[in-house]
């Protein structure tokens, strides 16, 4: 712990989004009115597919995009009409956006200089942050002379040197190669544990989301699909979209019909017990599907189409009929036998039911 850690921890502010929306003149609505409460010191990951409005949301919090309606509160203060510099926030950009003609030191000190801080204090602050991020030996270099990971660290240093109440990240790891991305992910997690800044991190990579987030906000077409901890998101997805978006391979989704006693596939085979009736989407994770040894009353027959060996385990693609299939995680090298037939059991406590029409999850207690 040094001065800069404690200063940032003390500055961490909550963010309240109250009915903010974004639409353009042509009538295209990017984000319909949206409410969310991000706690102080929390690491929130905004996750969604390309074009879901997650970057727009971040830029509205940053003040780089105007909100069409609604209010943004940072630390209880209304900021939606303020310039970025008055919001107490800092941002790390996707391609770093370092000033190419300035040294690492000047890059980090620029915002302090603009704010009119005395030179001695600037030097002290930048040195503290540089030491924290392992940049102390690189302060005289230009961004062009740095590696990708070092540039990333400079960009982070430039953001935290101002001791912001909120730290924003716009897909900061997407330009790095796989190995470096993994290392930076761990570095970011450590940094967050150390400085405890309120962090909003935008990404389309679910691994980043699952590993970094305290809570994940999943956006789809500008709407919040679910805002919960990674554990909840994975184990009780709130909608078909979340279920199909999270997990690799994602959750299996089968159209089923309930007759009040069992859920049946389109061809009439029963797959699970359930008292509900109507049309549903049945979801089950590949690793939750059990394989039965022999034909049993409660097992469903499926034909194996192909097998992917992933080293730690194998993923079977099995067809229930011509149109529907599911993926099953099995121990590595599982051999379905020459007939290529397997018998699947879907444990009822691992099933997720979604309304066929709205796609929303049906609470567990109603399913029994």
């Amino acid at each position: 712990m040094n001065a800069i850690d404690t200063a940032i921890r003390a500055a961490a502010s909550s963010i309240t989004l109250a009915g903010i929306s974004k639409s353009y003149d042509e009538g295209a609505v990017v984000i319909p009115p949206l409410d969310a409460e991000l706690r102080a010191g929390e690491f929130t990951v905004v996750l969604g597919p390309s074009g879901c409005g997650k970057s727009t949301l971040l830029q509205m919090i940053a003040g780089l995009e105007r909100v069409s309606a609604g209010r943004i509160l940072i630390g209880g203060r209304e900021v939606q009409d303020l310039e970025p510099k008055h919001r107490g926030i800092a941002m790390v950009f996707q391609n770093y956006a370092l000033y190419p003609h300035m040294s690492v030191f000047d890059n980090m000190a620029y915002s302090l200089k603009v704010a009119g801080m005395a030179k001695a204090e600037r030097i002290e602050r930048v040195n503290a942050v540089a030491a924290m991020l392992g940049l102390a030996g690189l302060l005289e270099r230009k961004p062009g002379q740095l590696s990708g990971g070092q540039r990333q660290r400079v960009a982070i240093g430039r953001a935290i040197v101002r001791e912001p109440g909120v730290l924003l990240f716009d897909e900061p790891l997407s330009n790095l190669d796989a190995q470096l991305r993994h290392d930076m992910r761990i570095e970011l997690a450590e940094l967050h544990r150390r400085i405890g800044a309120t962090t909003v991190f935008v990404t389309h990579d679910q691994v980043e989301a699952m590993t970094l987030a305290d809570r994940i906000l999943i956006l789809n077409k500008g709407r919040i699909e679910q805002f919960a901890t990674p554990r909840e998101i994975y184990h009780s997805p709130a909608s078909v979209f979340v279920a199909g978006f999270i997990g690799a391979p994602p959750m299996n989704l089968l159209p089923v019909k309930g007759d009040g006693a069992v859920l049946r596939l389109a061809d009439g085979r029963a797959v699970a017990e359930c008292r509900l009736s109507g049309a549903f989407q049945l979801g089950i994770r590949p690793e939750d599907v059990l394989l039965a040894d022999a034909p049993a009353a409660d097992a469903v027959r499926a034909t194996v189409r192909y097998r992917e060996d992933l080293g730690s385990h194998s993923v079977l693609s099995a067809g229930l009929d011509a149109d529907t299939g599911l993926r099953i995680a099995t121990p590595f090298g599982f051999d379905p036998g020459s007939a290529g037939e397997v018998f699947l059991r879907l444990p009822s406590d691992k099933l997720h039911l979604f309304d066929a029409e709205t796609g929303r999850a049906i609470p567990k207690r109603l399913q029994q």
Partner: protein, 305 residues
């Protein structure tokens, strides 16, 4: 494509040699003529080989003609043109690229039009405006009928007059109205990452600070390239200085060179002295190209993109 056939190499070499002779031949004759005496030319014929009179001829340029003061004029015009073009282009490209302006597309099209309508083809209208810069205001007074009222009240209509002909300002200003520089800077600004301006905003830099702290240092070599290009263009301008300057002391060196030809018919021009003058006058741009070639190439590449 790299061909290795011997016959092809020979043909290509021959074509190159023909091209070089075509270009360098006249330059060689300029050099040799400049080193001969007037009498040599009077005896007739082209000077195929160099003589020993170059120093003499060059001295006469400095003592007997107005080329020295005209070179000063050229310098003022070229420097003023280059400086004003750089500043104006930089600022207008900044506005075009970094601000969301509804009619930016129209403004850019209008700027591009100046590239397609060079000064040479609008020299007459430019001359009219230069002869009275305030004539549009007069016209405005006439069209709106205001002048009728003023004539009734004060006895005479408003007739504003301000001629910039035969002044340095008049020589420079029409040359500055040229869109190449704006285009060059615009293309450069658009290669900068869009996040750069956002990062500067997050750091608290306003429009002016971004311009001075970020954009200006990044544009240094573009400035140099545009400055060199415009300076060369200004130095070698012929038509506009010819019509806009009426006294020898206001003419530029290139115009002055042409005026070294005798006015009377039948007299043999003093070709050695004129050619020596041509060499003296072109030594400035030559020197510039030699010293700043790096930037010049960069500028040419950029403006072609």
């Amino acid at each position: 494509m790299v061909e290795n056939a011997r016959s092809l190499n020979i043909v290509a070499g021959l074509i190159l040699i023909v091209g070089m002779v075509y270009i360098l031949g006249p330059l060689y004759l300029t050099l040799t003529t400049a080193t001969q005496s007037y009498e040599f030319v009077l005896r007739g014929g082209l000077a195929w080989y160099p003589g020993d009179q170059f120093f003499n001829n060059a001295m006469r340029i400095f003592t007997e003609t107005r080329i020295p003061i005209q070179m000063l004029n050229s310098g003022i015009v070229a420097f003023g043109d280059a400086l004003a073009t750089c500043v104006l282009s930089f600022l207008s490209a900044y506005v075009l690229v970094f601000f969301r302006i509804r009619w930016a597309g129209f403004a850019f099209a209008a700027i591009l039009a100046t590239i397609m309508l060079p000064l040479d083809i609008r020299v007459i209208t430019t001359y009219q405006v230069a002869s009275n810069v305030l004539s549009p205001i007069n016209a405005l007074f006439d069209v709106t009928g205001l002048n009728g009222l003023i004539a009734n009240a004060f006895g005479a209509p408003v007739r504003l007059e301000w001629s910039v002909l035969n002044t340095h300002l008049g020589l420079i200003a029409p040359l500055v109205a040229h869109g190449t520089g704006t285009f060059l800077f615009r293309q450069f600004f658009r290669t900068l990452p869009a996040d750069l301006v956002k990062a500067a905003r997050m750091d608290g830099a306003g429009a002016l600070r971004f311009l001075v702290d970020i954009l200006l240092p990044l544009s240094r070599s573009n400035f140099a390239a545009l400055f060199v290009l415009t300076f060369l263009g200004g130095w070698t301008q012929y038509l506009w200085p010819l019509v806009a300057s009426s006294t020898p002391n206001m003419q530029t060196a290139v115009v002055g060179l042409a005026r070294l030809l005798p006015d009377s018919d039948g007299a043999v021009p003093d070709f050695p002295m004129i050619m020596a003058g041509a060499i003296v006058v072109s030594s400035v741009p030559l020197l510039m190209i030699a010293l700043l070639q790096r930037y010049l190439v960069r500028g040419l590449v950029l403006s072609e993109k």
